[in-house]
Amino acid sequence: MVGRRCYAVVVGVALTVLLAGCVGPTVTDAGYRNKVGDTARQISSSIASARLAVQLDLDGRMAFALTDQTVSDAESDADSAATALASRQPPTDSALKLYQRASRPIQDAVDALRALRIAVRRGDSAVIRAALAGLDAPQHGMDDLRTAASGG
């Protein structure tokens, strides 16, 4: 009896852990728009995080390891978000249009973060500053995308 109860507890916890990682399908237009908006939000946050870390580093307030880690994490998070969105099938025509509008800015953002990561690792301040400035346009792009996705 207790054995069965224990077994049930274990299965319950395992299921919970597994299902918590699952994402629902985006079969509706609204669901897809939400997904695009979420992706834009995540990438926007990654850009902000990388920008903060690099700015602090240029001001001499950081340790290199943390700067490098933060920028690398930002890049891989943005990349994962972009891939996750690309793997979803747009369910309607308007969703497809939204994706076509979104894919360029998203790719630009990922590229800009990659350029920043490379610049940080090379250590040349001028190149880093340039790469930092290169984040501005993608950041605006993400803001526009969030507005568009929420039906603006």
Binding site: V2, R5, C6, A20, M62, L66, Q69
Partner: protein, 409 residues
Amino acid sequence: MSRLFKMALGVMTAIGGFVDIGNLVTSGITGARFGMALTWAIVLGTMGMTLYGEMAGRVAAVARRPVFHIVRERLGVRTGMANLAAFLLLSGLMLAAELGGVALVLQLVTGVNYLVWVPVAAAVTWLIVWRVSFSVMENLFGLLGLCLVVFVVALFVLPTDWGALWHGATHPWVPPDQGHPMYFFYAVSLFGACLTPFQVVFFSSGGREEHWTTKSLPEMRLNALVGFPLGGLLSIAIMAAAVVVLKPAGVDVSHLGQVALPVAQALGPVGLALALVGFMAAVMAAAAECALSMGYAVAQYLGWGWGKDRLPRDAPRFHLVCLVAVLGATALVLTSVDPVTVTVLSVVLGAAAIPLTYFPVLVVANDGDYMGSHVNGRTLNALASVFLVIMVVTSIVTVPLLFFTKAGR
């Protein structure tokens, strides 16, 4: 060692010992996302921990038994076993989170991938459990954990708008861009991070390791009634630092390193180093305590000998459980599941099981046969019952919230 010094040490150890990877991660995430709106969850969790921690400590000092020892006597073999099973599962998950946390801090310091550090973290944790004396472990990590005070200092150095922070804390409205389910999910996570099941098992078993008696009650009470609230304050400071620096910048916390960025901004590399030392100490201590708690729980349920004050060969089964616990948790972390996700999951699932671990504490603290004149008073019981209701409510809403918010994405 003078009595005063000993008491001060106890308090400081309790402060540093309160914070673990769960507090660090959840405070950082919620500060960046919700501002100060979820401060109440930390306050509530800290109050609960203080209340029940004092009870568990009193039981250890007066009845001279740690709580889990009595669970089987009071609740019976089967309920006790269900309790033990749930405790081991959740603490195992939490141990995995702590080990992942140690590895993450080492990654932040060295730049080497955290997976490489996981076996190192596990080995050091186990060595602490195996041979390091109880008081050395407590005192060393407790004091080093106090380095986290650097977050409080940072708040004073940064252009902090204290009025705005206070306003945010006292007006806990759900921010417009976050839904209610997400808000309450993270409230549960903060609550669960303060009331981790292993904390109370460790506090009461630790009391037996330190041979508390009725004479130790003032000391124990100081630890619980001053140390834990100050630890809660520290968690709030970490959250506030995220509010001041990360939230305006639009940074969502998903990695441990981001939690330390506010300190870097305020105090530069020195402050950052102190923050990382504090992270390391708090999380490492928590890992050892969690592993020990799993050993304590099994040994106390089955009646085996246990304790760090004796040689391992004199409590072999206790040490075997600790070893297996560390190995199991290490295996889980090595599957390269995201440590931050594991941390959030562990505090949230832990929150679901809080009534299981904390209810027996209330039962025993009211048992006149064990507690004599130190039984719970009526006001204390009223307060503790209110908290029990809060804990049960939290426990009920946790799993639905977990599914609804997809673990806080």
